[in-house]
């Protein structure tokens, strides 16, 4: 997708966002509405300016296809793994979930070779990292971590 088309989509999305924010701001008691409505108006104006620029002055845009060459598999794997990690740590607990998250995502992002040595290495990595995190956050800093049924 070209930058021009992407700019059309972005400006339209931002204009839609401004519409929802403006509608919500209508309910704010005066004079508290002035600041947010001013910010929304400026945002809408700039989104419109981006649209106009993309339509009439395409030479001003950075040429090329921004998403060309994107490794969607790797990026989506990381995003989905992080989302699953978030839900798992809520129920299981931070330390156990993080240990498995480190092993699984590092393996998925690496060369994905299978063998006892590979998983032993990842297991050691998980233990060392989580050991350091535990020592720093739990023992020394006493920072609370998301609780769960395990640890």
């Amino acid at each position: 997708m070209s930058m021009r088309k992407i700019n059309y989509i972005i400006s339209t999305l931002i204009l839609a966002l401004c519409y929802f924010f403006w509608t919500d701001a209508a309910g704010i008691r005066p004079p508290a509405h002035i600041y947010p409505q001013t910010v929304i108006a400026i945002t809408a104006f700039l989104a419109f300016a981006l649209l106009i620029q993309s339509i009439f002055f395409p030479k001003a845009l950075i040429q090329g296809k921004p998403f060309e060459g994107t490794k969607y598999n790797r990026v989506l794997t990381s995003i989905i793994a992080t989302i699953i990690y978030y839900f798992a740590l809520k129920t299981i607990g931070f330390y156990v979930t993080s240990f498995f998250f480190i092993i699984i995502l590092t393996w998925l992002l690496g060369d994905r070779s299978i063998g006892l040595k590979v998983f032993a290495k990842l297991g050691v990595l998980g233990i060392v990292v989580m050991g350091l995190v535990y020592a720093a956050f739990k023992v020394f800093l006493k920072v609370p971590t998301p609780p769960g049924i395990l640890f």
């Binding site: 930058m3 992407i6 700019n7 931002i14 929802f20 924010f21 919500d24 701001a25 309910g27 704010i28 008691r29 004079p31 508290a32 002035i34 600041y35 947010p36 910010v39 929304i40 400026i42 945002t43 700039l46 989104a47 300016a49 981006l50 620029q53 950075i62 921004p66 998403f67 994107t70 490794k71 790797r74 990026v75 794997t77 990381s78 995003i79 992080t82 989302i83 990690y85 978030y86 740590l89 809520k90 931070f94 993080s98 998250f101 480190i102 995502l105 590092t106 992002l109 690496g110 990595l125 990292v129 995190v133 720093a136 956050f137 800093l141 006493k142 920072v143 609370p144 971590t145 998301p146």
Partner: protein, 503 residues
Amino acid sequence: MLADFLIGFQNALHPMNILIMSLALAGGIAIGTLPGLSATMGVALLVPLTFGMDPATGLLMLGAMYTGAIYGGANSAILINTPGTPSAVCTTFDGYPLTKQGRADEALFTALVSSVIGGVIGTIFLLVATQPLALVSLKFGSPEYFWMAIFGLTIISSLSEGNMIKGLLGGVLGLLLATIGIDPVTGHSRFIFDYRPLIGGITLIPAMIGFFSFAQVLTLVDENQKYLAEYSPNKGVIGKVFGHMLKFSKKNLLRSSLIGTFVGILPGAGGNVASFVAYNEAKRWSKNPETFGKGEIEGVVASESSNNATVSSSLIPLLSLGIPGSPVAAVLLGGLLIHGLQPGAKLFIQTGDIAYTFIIGLIVVNLLMLFVGFLGMRLFAQVLNVPSHYIATIVIVLSVIGSYAIRNNLFDIVIMIVCGIIGFITLKVGFEPGPIVLGLILGTLAEEGFSLSLLMAKASGSMFDTFVARPISAFLIFMCIMAIVSPIYVRVKKSRKNKLENA
């Protein structure tokens, strides 16, 4: 006063105090390096440890932790493009490109030396000009804060590489994000669209971790390179950095440290605002502004000297007037009160020896940081020898715990993940995260300043008198105009010169 000063000097150089300061500095640097762990958290955690200590030693330990944490943010900003603290956001702009160019240790050592110099200059002001500077800070009302935020926002024009409209749009989107949550004037919720967790607003730290840290992880994963950057220790780095700074950075260092000192004394504005303003000014005054954002060492100098200058100057209102101007100052106020010390004029009259031990100790802390920071720097730089898919996974775990630690709220992890995904996409389509985070940082300051000024104008009956006619406001408006006009003037002048040369 001279006797107190001499006692302070003697106490600050006591071997036990130096040992304690060194340990607290090392702890502070580690805390600052980890995204999400703030200087406030580090200082607050140390307060109970000071109970059994001599008051001066306890305060020195807290001061060392504060100084180390603000500097520590630069390490992760330079090495993995993730600011450890909000004050180090500007350090990423040139620090990470320098790492990519294989000049990581040069950037790290520059950040260290700049932080030390900024910290020493800020502390000298704390020592000699506490009273007059505190009185100036009291003259700052809501209209001045509003214009100060607008002045900070003018930096967006500098941060916008490529498309200016996208840079400005990023900035106002940051301002818009900052309006989500409770209205500061009426106390009503707004822009939450019936989704209750949004009532607390978009918290800065998780959003910052998302836009910089998680977005950077996704970029790393997308690039699929074995290592973050090529790195081999450069033996001549100390001489090279000192040589460069002595030759080219003197004015930048002084200007940025003074900006940091001045912004630091203003309650509510901290190292994050100071570093943005100093970075903007460094770029504006530079002969090569086009190199900023692409690995310009002066960008690191400006950001780091200004944010560390705020450490001492943020204590000026606390020590002279008893007003804590920053969250860390508020924690330090607790530390002072626990030890039976009364901040304000009495601190210098009744317990002058302790006050001067603390202030002179802060100079010693900054000098000690040169050695402690140097040892740490060598250690942190080894991160670049770890395969990037290991780094990516570990950074996600640290981002999750860092986001959660601020409010112990799971929703902050959601904010981090969403901002990270948005940050990755926006980076791809030409929106830099800098303006968005700048808008988010200055949004609260701008809105509170604007709304309260509006109420003041309503009461006084004149918008002009409230917003424009006050001397500091007028000066800040002038600075805003200069910040917008001067880059345009320089650009026009340069293009005319190029045309004449080509003709």
